[in-house]
Symmetry: C2
Subunit: 224 residues, 2 copies
C-alpha cells in the first residue's frame, strides 16, 4: 500500500484522518508543525501518544517561526475568542485565522512526502472548519493537487492530498473515529495550553458538541 504522510495537529479531525490511512494498510508518517500556536506543547504530547497508538512509522516534528507575530492564535498571551464570539459563516473569517496557514503546512507535508516517496498526504480538513477557513475547502485541496503536479522533481511522482473528512461535520467525524477505534481520548483540540481542555474556546466547543451530537461518551476532561 505504500507510504502516506499525515499532516496532524494532534486534534480530533487529523487523528481520524491518519487512522483512516493506517487502517487502509499504508505506512503512516505523521508530520506536526509548531508555528507558534499556544497549544503546541500539548499538541506534541498528544501526537507522540497518537503515533504509538495507531502504529505510525515515524513522526516528524517541525518548526516555523513566521507566524509568531501575525495571528491571535500565535501571539503568546493573546486573548483567544470564546466559541460564541466566533462567527461561523463564510462572509467573515475569525480572529483565529492564521494567514495562509494550511498552504504553508501542506507545502511542508508535500516536501516530506516527496522526500519519503509517499504518494498520499492525508489531512483532517472538514466541513465544519471550512465554514470559517477557506484553506479547508475541497476547492483548495483540488488547487493544491494541481500545484503539486508542477512542484516536484522530474524523478518524483507528485503526491496527492487526500481529505477523507472534507464533507463531514464534527459529529460524523466522532462517529467514524469511534467506529475505527481511533485514539480519540489521546487527542488535543484546545487552543490553549492548560493541563486539561479549557472547554470554552471555539475548538473545545466544536469538540464537545461533536461528541454530544454523535451520542458518544466524551472522554475529554474540560475545565469549564
Amino acid at each position: 500500500m505504500g507510504r502516506a504522510v499525515c499532516l496532524c495537529s494532534g486534534g480530533l479531525d487529523s487523528t481520524v484522518a491518519a487512522t483512516i490511512a493506517r487502517r487502509s494498510g499504508m505506512d503512516v508518517y505523521l508530520i506536526h508543525v509548531s508555528y507558534g500556536q499556544q497549544a503546541e506543547r500539548r499538541e506534541i504530547e498528544a501526537i507522540e501518544r497518537i503515533a504509538d497508538a495507531i502504529g505510525a512509522s515515524d513522526l516528524m516534528c517541525s518548526r516555523i517561526d513566521l507566524f509568531r507575530n501575525i495571528s491571535a492564535l500565535t501571539t503568546q498571551g493573546a486573548r483567544i475568542p470564546r466559541g460564541e464570539e466566533v462567527s461561523l459563516d463564510s462572509e467573515s473569517t475569525p480572529p483565529t485565522w492564521v494567514y495562509c496557514r494550511n498552504t504553508v503546512l501542506l507545502s511542508m507535508a508535500a516536501a516530506y512526502a516527496e522526500y519519503l516517496g509517499a504518494h498520499s498526504i492525508y489531512v483532517g480538513f472538514n466541513a465544519e472548519e471550512a465554514m470559517s477557513y477557506p484553506d479547508n475547502r475541497p476547492e483548495f485541496v483540488e488547487q493544491f493537487n494541481a500545484l503539486l503536479e508542477k512542484a516536484v522533481a522530474s524523478f518524483s511522482r507528485p503526491p496527492k492530498v487526500v481529505a477523507p473528512l472534507v464533507d463531514m461535520r464534527k459529529k460524523d467525524i466522532v462517529r467514524l473515529g469511534a467506529d475505527l477505534k481511533a485514539p480519540l481520548e489521546l487527542t488535543w483540540s484546545c487552543y490553549l495550553n492548560g493541563e486539561i481542555h479549557c472547554g470554552t474556546c471555539g475548538s473545545c466547543q466544536h469538540r464537545r458538541r461533536g461528541f454530544v451530537e454523535a451520542g458518544i461518551p466524551d472522554p475529554t476532561e474540560y475545565q469549564h
Copy 2:
C-alpha cells in the same frame, strides 16, 4: 502603488526582481527564509545591505527547520557538487534539489503578503534555474496563483506572484540589473559559507558566466 513582498535569497536574481518592484514605485517588503542552506549566514548579511540599498520598507528573516536533513544543500558538511557535475537538462534534477522548496518558500511569502495586504509577491525565478528546477517555471507560478485564489481569507485580496525574470537567462538578468542600478555587488550567490564566493559551485559558475556573457565587469571576488 501599494506594497510588494519580495522573496529574496540575497542572490542575483531575486535582488534584481526586488529592485524592479522598488523602481516601479512599490513599497517593498523583503522576506528571507533560512531553511538550513549552508550559506544562510552570508545570505542574511547580503540581504540586510540590499534592503538598505534599494530602500526596502522592511525585512522579514524567517526560519524553518524541516529541510535540515533532507537535501545536500542543507546538510552541514555535505559535498556540494561542482558546476560541471550538475546536469542542466529537464530529465534529471540535480543533487542540490530541496524537496518542494519554492512551494514552501512561496507559501511563506504569501502568508506575509496576506498579513501586509500586499497584492504582489516578486520572485527571481528565471529560465536558467528552470532548466533544473521545476518550481521555477512559468507553469508553476501560474498554478500557485490559481491556488492563492482559494487560499486566503474572504476579507483578503489574493496576492499574485510576479516573476519578471521568468524567461530570462543569467546574462540578461545581469544586464537588466546593471541598467536598473540594482546593488549586484552586494549579492551573495555561493552555495557555501566562505568569506568570499567559492567560484566553483554551480551557483558561482552561473553567476560568473552571467557577468562574462553580459560583458559587464564582475564585482565579485572568487576564491578559485
